[in-house]
């Protein structure tokens, strides 16, 4: 991209425009306040400047009325900022049900992006214009932060957490992707590009590459790791059947009900005893702590997500020489999520806000 100088970042989504309006509102308030104070100070300083060394100015005690006015009025203005800010905050951090999923893993010092269809990219993100996108993000090592200034969105990518963010880019173009949370030596090199394409182009791009969908890679992993020996696809094995589990409520042995979302599956793999499905015994499944990278984890989740509808035969064979489990740390039991299950009352659903369950989707719909 040509370096060009501008004072305003590009506006590439509706949300970005909304943030700009809020920003402008605050600027206007601030300029009025600052100018008001500057002008008053200098006006007083000139008008009442000391004219003789032994001047004695009048005694002014204060005024309740004024004090009340200049406490309450600014606070009312601030309440507007507050409410408006809350609205846009929830916009950025909750995703609409029809959002396209993209999975992002941050590690020192690169961004790895995976699409359910199987494309993988490094330091690049391609998205169609006009469609809501939901990024599910995890970190292999330290805290990073996924930041696209032109879309005015950002969220930390915290090890041990699945944080997510959603946006709908409207303007095709190439935009900066920055890591905004300090993460060590090449923090400033952990940058990339986001390409917003119009939907047709995006379809072409999607079709052009890929080594099999995330779900199929997840399936390979499912077999390599030996999950498939206990979690039989279509009949009850030693462990629960996973078909149609994703996004639906699961009854636990302690009577609670939780929704099987990304975070729940992640926890169940890394810390199998944290939540035991009703009717099963604890201690059967070993922990996979340290054996699955965050990318692998996301593929597994995509696979489990794809297990919908009536029973069907398994896809494809196992051996592509892909290795998994390279992460320095496999990731912990998510404090966020174990807590979620422990505390939230069933009807509301224990799912962290960032991980709202979505209706299971099949691949065809995605390729539209």
């Amino acid at each position: 991209m040509e370096p060009h100088f501008s004072l305003w970042p590009e506006v590439a989504s509706k949300h970005a425009a909304n943030i700009d309006y809020l920003f402008i509102f605050l600027c206007v308030v601030s300029i009025i306040m600052t100018a008001g104070i500057f002008v008053t100070v200098f006006w007083f300083a000139m008008k009442y400047r000391r004219r003789s060394p032994d001047e004695i100015p009048p005694y002014i005690h204060g005024s309740w009325k004024l004090e009340t006015a200049w406490s309450v009025l600014p606070f009312l203005v601030m309440l507007v900022m507050f409410g408006w800010g809350v609205k846009l905050y929830f916009d950025a951090y909750t995703s609409p049900p029809n959002a396209l999923d993209v999975y992002v893993v941050g590690k020192q010092w690169m961004w790895k992006v995976q699409y359910p269809e199987g494309q993988q990219e490094i330091n690049e993100l391609h998205v169609p214009a006009g469609r809501p996108i939901k990024l599910t993000m995890a970190s292999e090592d330290v805290i990073h932060s996924f930041f696209i200034p032109e879309l005015r969105i950002k969220r930390d990518v915290v090890p041990g957490y699945f944080n997510s963010i959603s946006f709908t880019a409207t303007k095709p173009g190439r935009y900066h992707l920055f890591c905004a949370e300090y993460c060590g030596t090449q923090h400033s090199g952990m940058v990339g590009w986001v390409t917003v394409m119009d939907p047709a182009e995006y379809e072409n791009w999607l079709a052009s590459g890929g080594t099999g969908s995330m779900a199929s890679q997840g399936e390979k992993l499912f077999q390599q790791l030996g999950c498939s020996t206990c979690h039989l696809l279509d009949q009850q094995g030693r462990c629960p059947v996973l078909r149609n589990v994703y996004g639906s409520p699961v009854k636990l042995d302690d009577g609670r009900t939780v929704i099987a979302d990304d975070a729940y599956i992640r926890e169940s793999v890394l810390d199998p005893n944290a939540k035991i499905v009703a009717g099963f015994k604890p201690d059967i499944m070993p922990t996979f702590q340290g054996q699955i990278s965050e990318e692998g984890m996301m593929q597994l989740i995509a696979y489990i997500k794809s297990l919908t509808g009536p029973p069907r035969p398994p896809i494809g064979a196992a051996d592509t020489g892909q290795t998994y489990g390279g992460g320095r740390f496999g990731g912990p039991g998510t404090p966020e999520n174990s807590n979620a299950g422990a505390t939230a009352p069933a009807p509301i659903g224990p799912t962290p806000i960032t991980e709202r369950p979505q209706p299971p989707r099949t691949s065809p719909e995605r390729n539209r």
């Binding site: 810390d271 199998p272 201690d283 922990t287 702590q289 039991g333 404090p335 174990s338 807590n339 422990a342």
Partner: protein, 223 residues
């Protein structure tokens, strides 16, 4: 820390030059000491908060640690510390009455009880080492599924009781100073601020333990 807070007063009954009256001096020391105790509360609250969060997140793992905690020993140690608080307050009372021999007697008792506490604590630490319960250095947890989270418990256990024990050690040092001063007959019914101040410190350390005991020893006893 506490040593220094009180050095101020340890140096002598004479009125220091910047005070107007002895009363002012005593009141100032008192507020200083209480303020210091507030900083201590905040110091420990950081750990208590961490403890509370993890206990709520990993409840079962935390409860599973209880079988490695000797409740009887813990309870006895709690009682020992309470007794030492009692002897301490008796020393303070004796100081207020200016009874030199009683001060000395009760200070010695307090120190002895404190040492018993520390001795028992050392025994417990040793036991934990033998049982491979020292995270980072020597940790192996029987129930593998709880290993990671139990390690957090024991990390907090050692941090909290360790910090508490450190305060006890400092307290013993302070008591020793008091003892020497009392022996030399420095405390009178008119001036005995150091006994009072260090008494406050000692009771505070006792209070911390009053919370540590149920939080660390009694989580999963009912199981």
């Amino acid at each position: 820390m506490a040593v220094d807070t009180n050095l101020e007063e340890i140096h002598g009954p004479e009125l220091r030059h910047h005070f107007e009256t002895p009363d002012q001096q005593v009141e100032t020391s008192t507020i200083g000491m209480w303020t210091f105790l507030v900083t201590e509360i905040m110091f420990f609250s950081g750990m208590f908060a961490a403890y509370a969060i993890f206990r709520s997140l990993y409840h079962d793992a935390f409860a599973s640690t209880s079988k490695y905690m000797d409740v009887v020993v813990g309870a006895i140690n709690t009682a020992v510390l309470i007794c030492s608080s009692f002897t301490m307050v008796m020393a303070v009372r004796a100081a207020r009455l200016g009874m030199r021999n009683m001060i000395v007697l009760f200070l010695i008792l307090t120190m002895l009880l404190g040492l018993v506490f520390l001795g028992v604590k050392a025994y417990e630490y040793h036991h934990k080492w033998v049982e491979h319960l020292v995270p980072g250095f020597n940790f192996h947890y029987e129930e593998a599924k709880y290993e990671r989270h139990a390690a957090i418990f024991f990390f907090l256990y050692f941090m909290m009781t360790g910090m508490h024990a450190m305060h006890m050690v400092v307290g013993e040092g302070l008591l020793a100073t008091l003892l020497v001063m009392a022996w030399r007959g420095r405390f009178t019914a008119k001036w005995n601020t150091p006994v009072d101040m260090i008494g406050l410190y000692w009771h505070f350390v006792d209070i911390i333990w009053i919370f540590l005991f149920p939080l660390l020893y009694l989580i999963g006893q009912r199981a």
